[in-house]
Symmetry: C4
């Protein structure tokens, strides 16, 4: 069970290639949610574009999140030596939430400036999508540890720390669901800063 | 004819990579069929989203089906050692039905709540698409066996069982075309449960 | 110049992978040009779908053409041992016409049933796109022969025959531009049959 | 730090594969911004298509730019032997501007024929996107040199020349932002000619 045969590697590679493809497509499809402003006769383009800032803020945030997810997926799978069908299905679960993201992104962009509760609901739906993705990441890691699919031996404390790390995302994005009902715009800012933080934190600790 | 040269492998690999690409794109494009609800002045977002449940149900089902198709394709091609042009064209036939799926998915989502026969027709079109994909899978497997493109010798009973297995999908999805005219919603539920069942069944028997 | 180093191979591989990606995406995007029929109150879905047959015919034809183009690209590049920048740019020219195809496809689908000259113009634009793709294929092959990028020595008659083969497509699709002005529907049928013929002919002669 | 282990190579390969995927998708998505002209009763298709020339000019230009960016990315990464997380994030920055391009492309196409300042603003937004992409290219190269991630030793003058080369794009596209306010159409022409020039210049100097 523990021997790393070439066929196992092929399995992991094809899984990674498929996931890379899905991340690459999802990140590129985000642009289709950006729409040129419809101008009335004599209306200026520049202020109309500025007025669309929620679109661009949501685009940028989702791009950052999918980018980080791809980097994380990458880091995680470098430590995985074998892929079995259970892993394939949990990975599909993660990809489900990744591919869905353009939908709440456009929902968020559309309602970010609403005065009503709709802005909060849109933010909560967006945060829920991120929370579900974080849960899927945790499930994959838990499964991988439980079925000894990692490449190297890990000490108990290393294992605990790695599990903590992945649970973190679930807690933080879960909290964002609550924050959504305080302010949609603050939620977007927090989510964006989190993506930047994760990026830099990884820069610092992992190389 | 039976020697597995490096060029044969390259051929299979490029075929798999192309197919993986198509599956990854088709599964990611599904999200483009999800539309934000258009709200009237003062309308609430949350009930409007809940009201769109057929969209999400159809999205989830098609995602599950394309995911399973990818896993199946993967399992099948791991047993194939050589790709010739006949296999390439039958594979294109399968990809035709896979890439078409977003269309009946959006048709299904749009008409699932109709009271009229239109809901049944949409369900039948959706089921027909799945049946055609199942037939393509069977054709590929039949072609592969007939032209001795599998990696290993199979006993007669193994061959028969593997052919049965792939024919199963055709029969079940074919039956769904009929069930569509009883209830569109039951059809969607059956198709979704089938995808889950296939997922778990493979988890159990194949590793 | 003639030595096949590993770096040359890497170059060809990345070129093929990029092209495969573009073909896979273009073939999958075709589905976005299929639109659910907009029904009036009480209108039946089934006849409305049947009424949309030009959409499906154009979809099927473009799918077949892009599929064949992928197979052809595949066959051609298996014979090429090195990629230089000239080849990369000619390949981009081919990809330009491949990625553009969804546009004339939707134009064709929209106007196929028009009684006016518009149906003929749409068919001519579609045929012109195919002609330009065929010319790009010829240019690639001519460039490859001229710069000795093929894997093996070819006799003069083999060279001539291979050039003829690729020029064929240009002549035939060029003729379709003319036929478009006789009948748009006949043009679509011819183009579809040609794709099938190319498929089968390759089945017969190349394995 | 300088040893080129297999895992470093794997890292670069997956980075390149992901980037190739994103470029391939972005270049193929451009076609979705082309819309069939909506004809009034009895209107001719051919003049309506000709009237849409800004769409096609913008499509062609963006296709050329993304194609050149892919070739450049390719050339750059062939010289890079290791990828660390810093490089991954700078690469994501570049991909951000590459995936965004379809949006200013459609903005440009829509307003190119406007008599008002809107045409200039659209051209400036388009040029700004290109400038940001050029800056990302420069940042990557600067980072790669600073962290000794290149494959081979470079002399000081080689280093200076390579940095100059990449800074060039930033200056030229930056100048296009200014030119946009003189004439949107001239800007499009310059950008297109630049893409051609870069293509041919590379043909000449790099093989």
């Amino acid at each position: 069970m523990a021997v790393n045969t070439q066929s196992d590697l092929a399995e992991t590679n094809r899984l990674e290639a498929f996931s890379d493809g899905v991340f690459a497509i999802a990140i590129t499809l985000l642009v289709l949610e950006l729409h040129s402003p419809e101008l009335e006769e004599g209306e200026r383009l520049w202020p109309a574009l500025l007025d669309e800032w929620p679109q661009f803020a949501a685009y940028l945030t989702s791009f950052a999140i999918l980018g980080i997810m791809w980097v994380n997926h990458h880091s995680m799978f470098r430590q995985i030596q074998r892929a079995d069908r259970g892993l394939m299905f949990l990975n599909l679960l993660l990809l489900l939430w990744a591919t869905l993201l353009p939908f709440p992104t456009s929902l968020f962009a559309e309602h970010l400036k609403d005065d009503s509760i709709n802005a909060n609901v849109a933010a909560a739906v967006y945060s829920a999508n991120l929370t579900l993705a974080a849960i899927a990441f945790s499930l994959i890691w838990w499964y991988v540890l439980r079925h000894h699919l990692v490449e190297h031996e890990m000490t108990k404390s290393q294992t605990r720390r790695s599990v903590m790390r992945y649970s973190m995302g679930t807690v933080i994005y879960g909290a964002c669901i609550g924050i959504s009902f305080i302010s949609a715009q603050v939620t977007l800012l927090i989510v964006f800063l989190l993506a930047l933080y994760y990026g830099f934190e990884q820069l610092r600790t992992r190389d």
